[in-house]
Subunit: 110 residues, 2 copies
Amino acid sequence: MANERLDLVFSTLSDATRRAVVERLVGGPASVTELAAPHDMALPTFMRHLKVLETAGLVRSVKKGRVRTCHIEAAPLMEVQGWLAWQRQVWEQRLDRLDALALSLEKDME
Amino acid sequence: MANERLDLVFSTLSDATRRAVVERLVGGPASVTELAAPHDMALPTFMRHLKVLETAGLVRSVKKGRVRTCHIEAAPLMEVQGWLAWQRQVWEQRLDRLDALALSLEKDME
DNA sequence: TTAACACTTAGCATAATCACTAAGTATCTA
DNA sequence: TAGATACTTAGTGATTATGCTAAGTGTTAA
């Protein structure tokens, strides 16, 4: 199960600055300057984070004149959610089996 | 919104080997040797991955005799799921507003 | 009581990540 | 058209991550 996309998306989301950009962009598109404003770092450094987000497919952008406008791409987030949902399902199934086992053991003691 | 726990959990899950360990452990506990078997790497290297998982709180382990048994801890996964669910909610609310806007524009054209 | 087993520690090499500054390009405004 | 604006590129340094081998510790089985 070598899913390189998941590697990329998880590692991209492991940085607080990049998660903050996602949190901002789910609310609607924004320019690079707008996105960078709340972050106390040099612009090239911030642009690097944006590039990481784009490489992971989490953000798309278009440049019009001198302004680059960024928007979120939901699909990769859904992929992560899917993986988590799968783990949760397997985990809960196991707990159910353990419950069933405990119940049957109780029954045996009657 | 500086959530260091999320940093840690996301970066931990950004590695395919570590995700594979999680996928194995949601099905039930296992020893280090068992966990390492499918992975083509030196044992100390694999142990390092396990340590990363433990540091992130995703895995707990107990040693009995010479065998260390590992099990999953679900809470950090839930935290990630929570963050994703939040983004999804904001995103869908925005889409709903856009839909409503489109509808009202259509109405205006009648 | 030896030998195998299951880790565990230590140390090292390579590569990736994250920050910076300095300087450059393209676009818009006055 | 001069200057401000909005990125963009290039280059540097520090830190962290991921892999390895070699050697060590404690436990169990023969």
